[in-house]
Assembly symmetry: D2
Homo-oligomer: 337 residues x 4
Amino acid sequence: MIIILKKNATEESISRLEALLQNKGVKANHIAGANQNIIGLVGDTSHIDISNLAAQECVEDIKRVQEPYKNANRKFHPDDTVIEAGGVKIGDGSLQIIAGPCSVENEDQIMTTAIACKEAGATMLRGGAFKPRTSPYSFQGLREEGLKLLIKARQETGLPIVTEIMSQSDLDLFADIDVIQVGARNMQNFELLKALGRCDKPILLKRGLANTLEELLMSAEYIMSEGNMKVILCERGIRTFETATRNTFDLSAIPLLKQKSHLPICADPSHATGIISLVDPMSLAAVVSGADALEIEVHNNPKIALSDGGQQLTPDMFKATMDKIKGLCGYLNRRIG
Amino acid sequence: MIIILKKNATEESISRLEALLQNKGVKANHIAGANQNIIGLVGDTSHIDISNLAAQECVEDIKRVQEPYKNANRKFHPDDTVIEAGGVKIGDGSLQIIAGPCSVENEDQIMTTAIACKEAGATMLRGGAFKPRTSPYSFQGLREEGLKLLIKARQETGLPIVTEIMSQSDLDLFADIDVIQVGARNMQNFELLKALGRCDKPILLKRGLANTLEELLMSAEYIMSEGNMKVILCERGIRTFETATRNTFDLSAIPLLKQKSHLPICADPSHATGIISLVDPMSLAAVVSGADALEIEVHNNPKIALSDGGQQLTPDMFKATMDKIKGLCGYLNRRIG
Amino acid sequence: MIIILKKNATEESISRLEALLQNKGVKANHIAGANQNIIGLVGDTSHIDISNLAAQECVEDIKRVQEPYKNANRKFHPDDTVIEAGGVKIGDGSLQIIAGPCSVENEDQIMTTAIACKEAGATMLRGGAFKPRTSPYSFQGLREEGLKLLIKARQETGLPIVTEIMSQSDLDLFADIDVIQVGARNMQNFELLKALGRCDKPILLKRGLANTLEELLMSAEYIMSEGNMKVILCERGIRTFETATRNTFDLSAIPLLKQKSHLPICADPSHATGIISLVDPMSLAAVVSGADALEIEVHNNPKIALSDGGQQLTPDMFKATMDKIKGLCGYLNRRIG
Amino acid sequence: MIIILKKNATEESISRLEALLQNKGVKANHIAGANQNIIGLVGDTSHIDISNLAAQECVEDIKRVQEPYKNANRKFHPDDTVIEAGGVKIGDGSLQIIAGPCSVENEDQIMTTAIACKEAGATMLRGGAFKPRTSPYSFQGLREEGLKLLIKARQETGLPIVTEIMSQSDLDLFADIDVIQVGARNMQNFELLKALGRCDKPILLKRGLANTLEELLMSAEYIMSEGNMKVILCERGIRTFETATRNTFDLSAIPLLKQKSHLPICADPSHATGIISLVDPMSLAAVVSGADALEIEVHNNPKIALSDGGQQLTPDMFKATMDKIKGLCGYLNRRIG
């Protein structure tokens, strides 16, 4: 950590700062610049609150040098983390395809869709039972009933299931779910993250609409600091000024997260773009960028879908995309599943 | 709602769309453009899911004409909503000043700060007991103990208290709190919003970092649709590309929200800027822009604050700012408190 | 175009609006909604100024239905445009690789780099002679001398050259350049665009840092409306809240622009990410997304580069990336060059 | 400047870096951290190119400590700059009101508007002769003829005139203009900035849509480094994800720029919001925030305006706003004009 001192800082105020730093167990190292004096801190600074230092009289600015995350940091854990979920492995070099509808709507819909997804080559099943909707007047999901239908679909297809949790008070209902998803809007619902850190299930953590990669890793850290190391990061598009797509797919996040962290990375081209015709090219782009998994919305009949109709693939479209993904994985020597 | 048809849409697919619309109780009105045919919907469209229409074969794009919020909409409730909280009124033309520390840290700190705030002219007391922190390694708040200290400070000063909730499972603990705050990171924690909609307390709803004004109003709608009409909206800065300030204070949101909604509006210049020296001018700017309340962070000794030290005013600074606010309110004929 | 009327609009003010519309040669089509009355315009609306309508008394809001660009619009020109530049073709299904240094620095540098790029498989040479730098104290480019060195490098290698113009007053100097580049900061320098529209050279038009795809197409329209139809669009990253990368690479813009326009698309992973290790994966991602060309910064010795040292590949790195691109193009059946 | 070294940097590569730094005349000061070694640079680093250092083998990251602008920096010029333009002074504590139409359209329009503006209390006249329009099919301005009409309006009213330049090749035409405006889209048109730096006229420099305050100051530095110190900075809204307003008015930029720079600051609430009803409150907010000038669009008949009709005030609206501004300035003891 680097502290930049005010030009007119008094010696007395600097002494007070030094005493404070000594108290916190770090050593101050002075550097006199041409127009600015700075202090470099020697020692572990991960427990120091930047805003506390910023409140000191003589301080103009502070710059952090070290990443604030430890458990999620590749520097301290060079090997890739591999997460097992319902029999498949995420992060071992293979590609997992998580497919299924935006929402679980009824038994026929989820069964038909799950079977079609499996036939096309999906290796995991997604489906929303608890639905975060912008409007209270939109379909809110089948909730507990939806979870039961997902489990039924797993029995039928053998596909491990991924579904979203919206509140820690529902956690008991997820006992038989393979991967628990945290949605973008809950990425900084810290109470939920802590609760998930105390369970023993793989967590698919989606990046928030306006959250940096560092904040995503800090949210992973929340889960990991409570003991659960099975976190899968997911890039699903960020909010920018561009409105031609639902979000802006930050594809370079995938290789960059791979460098910064040992955790597996999933990409969600459906939410990232919100446009059916872009799911195909963005899926291929995510694969060549190194994603460990793709999450793709597929619905047996999008025209009557209760949510996100406009971005869900039909089984036929999904099959066409899967065929391209299979070809590409063949070329890249990556196993699917 | 306006539906833009694909150039090559078949008559058959358009007929199917019309049947679907008829089913939903709205009438289709065709308009033939030079290069584009469109359908205008006549009737109440608030229950129609745009993504469902977007999934129909003949549809190229859809544009909404009507606001999707009703309870929060000034069109349907022309008069300003006035909310009473612990004896003060928010939204009746007066200005309320909610001041206090970022976090409640200990009895001495909250008492000293509360008394100083009251002396300077604050009319309500803020203080975080449950603290949403980016890092799991940062101070997480005194939680239940913090709420008790706030109540003690209210007994001492008479100031109604405002404090943040982070999970609906803590709601019982807030029984004796005057205003429950929903933080920016929980603005779309829909389960929490619904729970708050079923209680009978004023809710201070902060705008999310990357949320539009329409989304803020939709989150208010979540609370209101469950029966609780006492929602105060709060502009606290949005996330943009600019890093010179902690957030970008979207001040024009204040008069614009006033036009769109009848709910009272609060401004939080402390979080919006994150810079002590900007709290003073932005407080004045919020007052002339029509804010019903200001939320300002004040700490009896920011240098030892456990969070946000760099943006909390000292009691002396707060007093200086309050003096300017009082002068300005005098000029504007607005009562404080 | 759809005009949404104010709830309390008087009949008189609506009549005035209708007269105005009739004057402009479009017909007003009324639709009475549940809470809102709207007018749909029938006829060609591309010449109507939205802000002029917005100024009318009875108008609440206006929504455009038709794209405001014509020459660049695929709807009116379904076939892909193929642009020839110095012997290579851009947009015919092949992939062009434009490689070279950020800045032309001296003869040895540009020659050595150009030869290395060609050997690795580049099909065009880039190099900045006129350099847009944030700081007036940074290297501003060799200017006219730089253009001469590029021409010399073309003589040596046979690679057509691409280089940036910063002012229409320099246009004569570009007479012997194969492709003239317009940088992101000049995407809406409309006087420059018009001047380029009157010349007969291919223009590589980079998307501005905060410009939408529609604005990019409107800037292409500026060039095309003056007669020059040879415009290549270039996605080079947009500015967002994320600071981990220099910009955010909006990859989905590539297939989306392909849908909206018939113009060829280039991708610039060097500027989009600003990070050497991301150029390789983002190049591959751009290829599978359908880019017609890649622009990649390569320097014979980045450590002594006068600009952008941190994002330029060494010739060895570029060769390694080119080998992957060649393999991928082989798999995809796309010719390079 | 702080250089963060890679964890596994070799001694040899560090020695090479040190030699490079010595060559550039700065001294390296080593600090050994717990997990990271860093180098602090002692001496003037304003001429060092960060990307050059970033290209060195042992370098992980670089953080700048010192601002890269000098002429515009308040640290080196503590006193406010006061700029005289056509008889009025900007930056001396007074408030200047620059009012007038978006575009000069014809003699009657500019005369009528100018007279109305003056009567309401404006102290300077604005009007666009060269118009940057997103679409080539929109009105592009009267150009030279527009400048002549402005000069005529100045003769009639005595108001100094402010108008936009779009190309350095037009500079001679601006010989009799009082203040030359650089529009947001040209903020980083560096060739234009340099040309303006070599003339002796006040320049009103508008912040770009996606430019940081530091970049705005660097563009001012471009002008100043060529010798012209008369730069007025202008906040006119930035582009964010919010679409309810045309731009997001970054009001806190005003006091922050005042801290960082000695240059006078103008605010443009018309472009910042794009909504007539917000111009009034945002004007007042800019005044209490410390703006030295306001630029407000006024048109004698917005309903027939050739551009920006929806955000131009009528003379009556402007008068009402001016009356509030006068009252507020009276309270604040600020002279208008």
